[in-house]
Symmetry: D2
Subunit: 189 residues, 4 copies
């Protein structure tokens, strides 16, 4: 059974809820998810590094703040340099997801950063593999309406509570988690 770490930071809970749906998708695919939350100081649970080092794949999650991933996520990324020196994550699979208040608002920047991080580690990137919902009949609730290819995207208005997140975005996150874990299960050695 393949093991997938969902390593994420969340400022106000929206990205965390997105991560929960990603986790649901991983579970649906029959893989074992590990839910690892980076805290407000950019620190990880004690067991996190061990889990990451053993994982077949990792899904990076962070809110998009000021045009990129939150600093807490970046602190984790910088700390991973110790593993990079030994290429400890080489050939593991990677993916990513982000939430922000604005419809576009530089979410692409965050996801592309995740790719750049993964590539430095020698990881292999799996995107959403989804078509967008982009015709006149599409609604805000349609799957992949926000329209991410490299990673899963959610948009939650600046004054929306976690409970008010758009269901279609959460379903997209779940579908991505499932697609990711299925690909990993089929291809992990």
């Amino acid at each position: 059974m393949s093991m997938i770490a969902i390593i994420h930071h969340s400022g106000y809970g929206h990205t965390r809820r997105m991560a929960e749906f990603v986790q649901n998708g991983v579970t649906k695919a029959g893989a074992t998810p590990h839910f690892l939350t980076i805290d407000a100081n950019g620190d990880l649970p004690a067991e996190a590094w061990d889990i990451l080092n053993r994982a077949d794949g990792m899904l990076f999650g962070a809110p998009t703040y000021m045009g990129g991933p939150s600093w807490q996520f970046k602190k984790f990324a910088d700390a991973s340099s110790k593993i990079w020196f030994g290429m400890g994550w080489r050939d593991k699979f990677a993916g990513g997801f982000t939430n922000s208040a604005t419809m576009n608002g530089d979410k692409f920047s965050t996801i592309t950063y995740f790719v750049t991080l993964a590539m430095q580690h020698g990881m292999v990137w799996i995107g959403t593999g989804m078509m967008p919902s982009n015709t006149k009949s599409a609604t805000r609730e349609s799957l992949n309406y926000v329209g991410g290819f490299t990673g899963a995207l959610a948009q939650s208005p600046a004054d929306a509570s976690v409970a008010e997140m758009v269901k279609g975005d959460l379903d997209t996150a779940e579908a991505y988690g499932e697609r990711f874990a299925k690909f990993v299960a089929a291809r992990a050695k």
Copy 2:
């Protein structure tokens, strides 16, 4: 009076309409717009290079196709290498806009490419300078709902005619043209 070139390619007319609204904004700001359309072969009107070489600022426009600006726009960009060798556009102002069918769908990639092109030319980049409409009260018609900062973004469903483009997106394009031209007018030597 400052002179602003709106150099753009449009596949089906949506980006061209966006360019018209950008042009309206430039005119409202009291600057002189030059509307330069790159054709289906990636070629420019005969007078275009002369106008670009004399312009105080240029606004780059292209649809986002397959994750970046249309090849016709890129053909123009590649042809501009002749000017680059002599730094002919150094210190001119630059900006950009794009339309695509998907809400996010890699529009950021196109706009970031425009910046990269402008920077190679030694140009100075002016973004939208707008706040996004990203609260629960925002509607699809709100100014900068699609949410671009580096450049102006429009989203038109894959099956939407040019006439069906979202008015809020066109108003955003106009506001950007005006902001760009005002900044240039105040700062051009």
Copy 3:
């Protein structure tokens, strides 16, 4: 035996030579390479689409011109939208390489565009998985001295002939072709 397409454009022959070394690496890994050259008009050999549709992986190659891939490569990318509508390349592996005259000079932009294209197609991206040669003892001839992670990078001075390309860069391209093909061979279904 897995089948890898090396689909590339070359303006003056440098990227083509890089593609030849990528091909050598693919062959060393025991996979079957298909060498597909995009011509000066951005058109492909007649059999190219059929080969691409059957390939297990594709390596995208283009020179970096004016901050991005050559327009001829982009014309191919835009033409691939027909396949995208049917998700014909979903789950295939992808990678990329580029050459330019300047040491940095926006090669990252070209490689990141390749990722964006691959992700829209639902492909899975394999980077170089190499450490850089970045200590004081490194020379211009060292493996991955130019230092690409997401894809393989070569730098050839503006006045250097194809024969004068840096051997270390070509060896890097070959090592990448081999790494890519080995990963694909182990993971392709």
Copy 4:
């Protein structure tokens, strides 16, 4: 007299030295530099926000760590959201610089992030405006050999001390500081 803030983080001193040369260039241009160092916790000197709010332009500096700006810089960027809400930095000029151990190694990613941050703030971006040194006669000591357009780039081997930084890279940083400050002086209101 225009006022330019050089707001930077440095892990081991290399980026700080680069910032000093940027500062020299600002001074040579006749502008007033303010040297603001973000500390190891991502915190700023007490007077920093006041200076930034009054500056005509800011130059962002950070090392490139794991494919992007150091987390300490990102913490500053995230903290600037308070100013963003009121568009307090709108129409100020911005630029950026970075150092890393690898020749390419994702420096483009850091610089592009700086642009994205500046654009969210409504700032106007000034790149290096320099040609690269990219012919066969160029040496590692040539101006802009590392080859940045959007911002100034330095490369210091992983085992090089601050004193061992390449003089050509530091001269490039100084030339950029001067170009930036001259442009600002001529165009600031």
